[in-house]
Amino acid sequence: MANKLDSFARSLEADSGDAVSLSDGRVASFRLSGMTPSVVVSPADHEALCRVLTRANEAGLAVFPWGGGTGRGTGYAPFRYDVALSLERMSKAVEFLKDDLTAVVQAGMSVEDLNRLTGAEGQTAGLDPPHPGTSTVGGTIIADRSGPMRVRWGKARDRVMRMKVVLANGETHTYGALVVKNVTGYDMNRLLSGSWGTLAVVTELAIRLYKAPDRIEARAASFSSTDAAFKAARALTASPLMPVWAEVVDAARIAALAPECGVALPGPVSLVASFGDFEEGLNDQLARFEEILAKEGGDDILRFDDKQTARLGRALADPPGGEFSDSEALAFRASGRLDQLPRFAEAARRAA
């Protein structure tokens, strides 16, 4: 193994120089389910990344593409882990075509940076994975990690217009184009979105954008049980209202949220939803949501302004417990038909 690694490192230094940084001092921060890589490699650009994969392939090394590492707790422990391939040096915007509502970015850009870039023009990618300052755009797409805003903008994978990827043998492929509608050949972007880096390393993405709503505000009400809150949530989804996000929050999470974002939701169980629109539409949607809450038996209706709503939305997108880590905490993510969710929530609570 040491020989393989040596020849890998030597050959990379020979053909890439500064374009690839190798480090064995940082391996501890790239641990995965108790396993530590032998080396961390960070290429400066697409071409350098191609060389890394070509050389690793020649040497027979197992490579883990690494964005922000926020998904490291998901999945089985690897049975081999030689190289952590970090995208940290590939975090730039390539092209922002604001009139076409399209952003082309390197895969290692953080979601927060993408939001800043698009937000400056009043646009949004509608991506809200946990830990947006650390989560990368590439990682979010490749893990198809959607957040609460999925109800408004769709899944993370729906954002992809074009992807530039490198296969294990170092070959570069580009799938898709800068168009919003495309059935030319097989839908390779969908095959890759959600493949967790098992098929290829994504280096550049063209992301479809939307106009960000002028203002987003939330309303919440308390319900006596999870069942009742879910029932109100179903009434919301059956209505013509278009929430930006809609969440049922239980007592434990309500208690944890207050110190995280300074917003106290009404307990024991809350249904909270936000809406974004021009002023007239927004006021109408909020008023009608309050009617739904009242009709479904919600009490203590609370109104949050845009600043509180932004903090609340951010906190709800992060998993409970704050920091991500290679730790002992166990988080479930499940989905199913809406009317079965209360049963799942109840079963999970009992199991805990």
Partner: protein, 481 residues
Amino acid sequence: MDSAGFIQKLTDVVGEQFIHTEPVALRTYDCDALTIYKGVPSAVVLPESTEEVRRIVEICRECHVPLIARGAGTGLSGGATPLPGGVLVVFTRMNRILEIDYENHLARVQTGVVNLHLTKKTLPHGFHYAPDPSSQAACTIGGNAAENAGGAHCLKYGMTTNHVLEMTVVLPSGEVVHLGADGEDAPGLDLRGFFIGSEGTFAIITELTVRLTPNPESVRTMLACFSQVGDACRTVSDVIATGAVPAAMELMDRYTIEAVETVVQAGYPRNAEAVLLIELDGLPSSIKPLETLIRDVCEKNNCSSFRIAQTEEERENLWMGRKKAFGAFGVIAPAYYCLDGTVPRSKLAQVLEEFEEISARYGLRITNVFHAGDGSLHPNVLFDDQAPGETERVIECGAEVLRACIRAGGVLSGEHGIGLEKIREMKEQFDEPTLGIMERVRDAVDQDGLMNPGKIMPDEEHIFPLASGGALARMGGGMTK
């Protein structure tokens, strides 16, 4: 096994009534709505269940006979045109809606359910099935999934892939598998998404769980007229740039207006160079500001008139013009060839100018009626299919049109699929390694080339004969998107 034995085995599965082998019957299935290429199958079978499809696949696999699935045959790229000698599986009988779950906004249907039937059934309950290709009165939900069909309203609501949650498919191995889930986050690879749009080359879809969309509370339809096509195109890009997402935004040029007004009198001004049909839907309070915004953009781009349909009848009339446009081309030419290249929305004006130049060079008229909001073009090359050599020249002209789309950063197909029609141009869209991996992935799913061979990928081995005197689309024949 000899041919008689093979046919007997298929007959044992579906029953004598539901297999066709007589030449006259077979010829009625020799193409879909792209009628220029023909392939006569060796048998047409009409199964009624997933189990029957599974048994048909097993028999074909044993005998190395390719399979081609066909919904309603409304596709425009030849996806359902049989490889000569193959077995065509037709889903006319698998047309049952199995379950409608209004609580969870889902419906489970057999593959042959007609798109519009599901909408008609759910409309009174406040829901509809959003994908709406122009052929929706005839095309099937399974066929839509195989092609990842679009439609006028996918600007806001997305393509078929955004509305299919789960599919039951029969693999070439004869295995029956379920792809996706009826909730949002199916674990593992998104094989559902990967199989959608694979044009029947991976597997045969037999059942689908689809999303039902709540009906919008209000709809506003408007017509903006322009004396320059470029102004209409710029209006489209400018509307998109404002971030407003209309439910639909359709552009029709002068030739289309002329044809439409001669046939149906939709109320489009005959002296306009282009009209934009724009539809907004949603809460009245949400769409009212958009109405003003869109009117301003139209006026800024020199629209000569702008009106909003005041009654349901007026609205239907405006749409009637769009929906009858393809049929109406019959008054100006015996046949037309409809393409569906797609470009970034900011490039619309530029490519339309290029189309005009190509049209002049070939001496063939090109009309444009398309989903402008998506950049999804439908250039139609008009011609006389009875004139010798004309069809070949039209195909070459069509290829030039597609090249112009690729040069503008666009793609060969936005919603009709590659099928047989555009396989030659695939080499211009993709480089060798990219085509190579698509081929390897296809071969991984279908090792023996059993499923719809000769489609999507450039293919020297499977050649479909060009029908003599065949039209690309005859008037009143091809349904169009």
